[in-house]
């Protein structure tokens, strides 16, 4: 995913390891950017599905044109 502050891409799993020392790690819904330490919530699964749905629709529209 991409950090919303410094805009750098990082791996979610790697980011999880980055904050493994935190006492709130278990059940934590936040992701910390390994580059700038900014925290953001885990991307919503259903919101991602909505975006993908519209992207697919847009893609089909382009093909049909």
């Amino acid at each position: 995913m991409r950090c919303t502050l410094c805009y750098k891409e990082f791996d979610e799993v790697e980011a999880r390891n980055h904050c493994s020392a935190c006492f709130l790690t278990s059940g934590c819904k936040m992701i910390k950017c390994p580059n700038c330490d900014y925290e953001m919530p885990v991307e919503s699964a259903w919101a991602k599905k909505v975006i993908n749905f519209f992207k697919r629709k847009k893609g089909k529209k382009h093909v049909s044109h």
Binding site: N17, P41, K48
Partner: protein, 657 residues
Amino acid sequence: MPVLEAPQAQAQKKIALVGNPNVGKSLIFNHLSGSYATVSNYPGTTVGVMRGKLKVQGVQAEVVDTPGMYSLISITEEERVARSILMEGNLDLVIHVADAKNLDRMLPFTLQLIEAGFPLILCLNMADELEQRNLSINKEELQKELGIPVVLTAAVTGKGISQLKAEIQKFNQEENQREKDFFPDAFKSVLKEIQSNLKGTYPIQTHAIASLLLQEDIEAVRWVKENDSASFHAIQETINHAKTLYSHSLQYELALSRQKEVERIVNNVFVGESSKRTGFAEKLSQWMMQPLTGLPILAVVLYFGLYKFVGVFGGGTLVDLIEGGLFEGYINPFLVNLFEKIIPWQTFRDLFTGEYGVLTLGVRYAVALVLPIVGAFFLFFAMIEDSGYLPRLAMLVDRVFKKIGLNGRAVIPIVLGFGCDTMATIVTRILETKRERVIATLLLALAIPCSAQLGVILAVLAPYPSALLVWVGVIALEFLFIGYLAAKAMPGEKPSFYMELPPMRFPKISNVFLKTMSRMEWYFKEVFPLFIFASVLIWVGQVTGIFQFLVHSLEPVVQALGLPKEASVAFLFGFFRRDYGAAGLFDLNDAGIMTGVNLLVACVTLTLFLPCVAQFLVMKKEHGMKITLGISAFVLVLALGTGYVLNKLLVGIGWSF
């Protein structure tokens, strides 16, 4: 002599591909190495590194695809691995793969690599996308500027790969590795002085080591301590002296000067319309960071984003529609009727549909009051984030924050505090010193309202713009004044700050949607069970009489602030959660029992009021019980004291809103 030739006569050479993530490095690697590659973890890490045999006629070499890196100053484990390969790999050739479309963001790293003295080829990939945008790069001019070979490729289609292979074949290491730097004159004397003290053997050019030392790179410091321990003290003195010459950190000053050099080169070599667009974005970026222009921009952003959108629209229009229209008009009356029929016992019925019932209060607060307000706030926040404004805000406030013992980096926990102070208290860990962490924790507990609290305050004060201005003034003043006193009480070194700036951009709808929904989902999942739990707790308190006792105990306190005694409920809620207390304040305003002065005093006091239970526990975990109790006691006295003085002052001068 071209060193990459004559395979029979020489041992196998080493070539590394470096560059930012997502620039097509792996595709270039595949083109160069064919299909045979091995992946193994870099020793002592979990980072995988791809290695293959170079498929270029006449050259026998191993080619390594390094993990993505943005600069020689490494932060992540991947970057550390990539840097180790660069520094310790005895490389015969480094190919910097960069995104041709974003030359201005790629070249700072190229300049670093050249300064470090790596034998370098610049491979500008994604040239096809550049063409699609009717843009082009004057390759010959860029080669002249940088003094290294430049190749344009489109790894997806394979275009330019043969030229890249040809450049590898004819690469002349000695010619390429001459000492070159892009530092401004102001830094040259400092770098020369440091360089003159570097006598040991280093993996890169000593002027690049000197530059890394100026940027306080930990590994460079370690190398110098090992190789030039005798002159380390003198070097440190030179660096300390250089620090006094600049208001910002040396890392920032160096990056700024490098960026200026990059802009000059890009303007020289880029052909097409985009330079005009880049020009405006760059100007806007500079305006945002200069106090004279940055502060008015900030005021406009806060006025339209926070006041108009979150306060008036979110806290006013949306809440009126959902809470006033839907819940009070239909849902709550329906639930009250329903529960009257199915639960005959008043006490148990109160648990669900009483004054503080789980459904009539807990669900209503969470769904109809807090969610629309934080939703509006998160939408505004996502647009700010996606535009690239936040890092520029950090640079803008860096100077002010230094006066209160912090630096621009503290913008991260402070801004996150507007979302949730508890989470932000944990994020203070990113600050370098304990002093900074304690000051930031204190300021978060004192003067940073969480999103729901902020939204409710903006909504209830929106009809009284002058009251809102007083609220902003009091909170900002306390934030700065208490920060200043705390910095004086806890003297320490001025922390330096530098942040690489991402490009300015128009927020993308899909990004904004994803960020807003992710935050709303996270907030709702956290807040909903707690609001239900609070309602149950209040019900238990009512049944046992503890709730009434606590409310009565707080009455003299709120009355001393000039508030009606009913306001003690909102204060009691505020102990539990800031947003819950804010929602209580909203109900009081709805009931029409508060005057304009009352509302202002309550808003100021509740903003400065004690941290909620969760924030208190996190503070204890982070800083220990002594500091937490100290901060809490200080915040409580200051909040009530400010409320008391403000009320007396407003009543005394007969101010009404």
